[in-house]
């Protein structure tokens, strides 16, 4: 990638190359077809040689193709994005509170409320480009405890099962989520299972899932995706009133 070029531009350019590759392969198919038709006389040797050449070039084309694929590997782009996000977290926030950085080469700030509202607000359109909901109906995430100073049951794992999602037609920027929080605890004296229904919202502006307290203890769950890797998120149990985190779980999508 040359300097000043974004990943998407690179991808488009690569796609052009892919087109020429496809043409090459098509031409190759014609060659092979004609060869098959005339495979009858005593000119075997000549034909075999031609076939061999054809096979070799096919091989070379596939080699080149896989080289291109390796550069465009989505998993790799995701990993690079996650690392970039970690650096961005370390950097000073360039946008005021409750506003969102458009990203790309154009550091523009727009209100959080405008991200993924089906209306382009960023000059580069970034605010409407990444609007796939990672917590869809039927998805479930298993969280392993990092620390826990507040939950009632002190579980080792928590499972969040997304039961239903409601996207509001007039305000799609934060869909309503209905989930179940499954907690299984196994102490010396008893084994208990709890399935707490919880309502919440997903906010595209922060890639955050927020579940309102399912019990009367005022403990809510805040799930933070990094914006690139949507198979993991950091889940913090926070006091609804103070927004102070008192427990941390790392969630992984159940496949």
């Amino acid at each position: 990638i040359t300097a000043g070029e974004t990943w998407s531009e690179f991808a488009i350019r690569q796609a052009d190359t892919m087109k020429s590759l496809r043409l090459l392969l098509a031409a190759l198919a014609v060659v092979t077809a004609v060869l098959a038709d005339h495979h009858e006389h005593d000119h075997e040797a000549q034909i075999d040689k031609l076939l061999e050449r054809t096979n070799k070039i096919t091989h070379d084309i596939y080699d080149f193709d896989s080289k291109l694929d390796a550069r465009l590997d989505p998993a790799r782009i995701r990993r690079a994005g996650s690392l970039k996000h970690r650096v961005e977290e370390l950097e000073e926030h360039h946008c005021p509170e409750h506003s969102h950085q458009c990203g790309g080469d154009d550091p523009q700030c727009i209100s959080d409320l405008f991200v993924c509202d089906k209306h382009v607000d960023c000059r580069n359109g970034e605010d409407e480009k990444h609007c796939t909901l990672p917590t869809k109906e039927g998805d479930s995430f298993v969280g392993d405890v990092v620390y826990d100073n507040c939950t009632r049951r002190r579980p080792q794992h928590i499972t969040i099962a997304i039961e239903s999602v409601t996207v509001h037609k007039y305000y799609p920027a934060s869909p309503d989520i209905h989930a179940h929080i499954e907690i299984h605890t196994d102490t010396d004296d008893e084994e208990a299972h709890a399935s707490l229904p919880a309502d919440g919202i997903y906010t595209f502006a922060h890639d955050e899932l927020y579940l309102y307290p399912p019990e009367d203890d005022g403990l809510a769950l805040l799930g933070e995706f990094d914006g690139y890797d949507f198979d993991h998120f950091d889940g913090y149990i926070i006091h609804e009133s103070s927004h102070k985190a008192c427990a941390h779980f790392v969630f992984t999508r159940k496949k």
């Binding site: 990638i1 020429s20 590759l21 190759l28 004609v34 054809t54 070039i57 392993d144 990092v146």
Partner: protein, 237 residues
């Protein structure tokens, strides 16, 4: 035109004609393949003009630098288990043959590698002095001369070594201090103080926080206060 050709072929059934026809086909198809080879070569040329892949080492180094900035991840005398779910366990529990991390990270071969303390290992860099010594930046070397790991306490490797540094490039004055200390697997820190019976002048502390055993951040310290006299980025040499 392929179809026309085939029709023509069927009509004219004479041998020399067929022969010429065959030659024509072979030459033609060879030319096709030549064209393909040429096109492919051009694509490859174009591709090679783009910047190459970053090598894994650079990426690993970058990740560790980010990680170091994100820290400290654990309280003092505790270190990370690594892996997806962060967990801290005491430095005394690493590589002791007992799994203390939930993911077993404290006993992983990468963490428990003794590579840092192999006898003869030498870490060199240009030391910048911020005190203790009136010296312009010069090379400093920490060399491991002996190492021992006790069976009953495996989370440390006890080492002997030498700290040397140049103080004057014209007359090549080199100061050397025999040191002894230990390496801890959990914190990846090599910490050495003055050898028994020597004057307590300098100690050395090297932190292998770059994701491998070939790079370290080293400091020359006062052995009593651990006050930093000089620091250098060391490469294994």
């Amino acid at each position: 035109w392929f179809i026309l050709l085939l029709v023509g072929l069927a009509a004219a059934d004479s041998e020399p004609f067929k022969e010429r026809q065959f030659e024509y086909f072979i030459t033609n198809q060879n030319l096709h393949v030549d064209k393909l080879a040429h096109d492919l070569h051009e694509l490859e040329e174009e591709f090679s003009k783009y910047s190459h892949d970053v090598d894994d080492k650079t990426v690993r180094l970058l990740k560790h630098r980010v990680h170091n900035l994100e820290g400290p991840h654990c309280p003092e005398h505790f270190s990370e288990c690594g892996g997806l779910v962060p967990q801290c366990i005491s430095d005394l529990f690493f590589c002791d043959g007992q799994k203390d991390c939930k993911n077993g990270g404290d006993e992983s071969p990468q963490i428990c590698s003794e590579a840092a303390t192999h006898v003869g290992s030498s870490y060199t860099g240009i030391a910048t002095w911020s005190g203790c010594e009136e010296s312009a930046p010069h090379y400093a070397v920490v060399t491991i001369t002996a190492s021992e790991r006790k069976d009953f306490f495996q989370s440390y490797v006890w080492v002997r070594g030498v700290l040397s540094f140049e103080v004057d490039e014209h007359i090549h004055t080199v100061k050397s201090y025999p040191l002894r200390g230990f390496y801890n697997f959990g914190s990846h820190v090599l910490l050495m103080g003055p050898e028994r019976g020597t004057k307590p002048v300098y100690g050395a502390r090297c932190k292998f926080n770059m994701g491998d055993f070939d790079h370290a951040e080293c400091e020359i310290v006062n052995p009593e206060s651990l006050h930093v006299c000089a620091h250098f980025f060391a490469d294994r040499y």
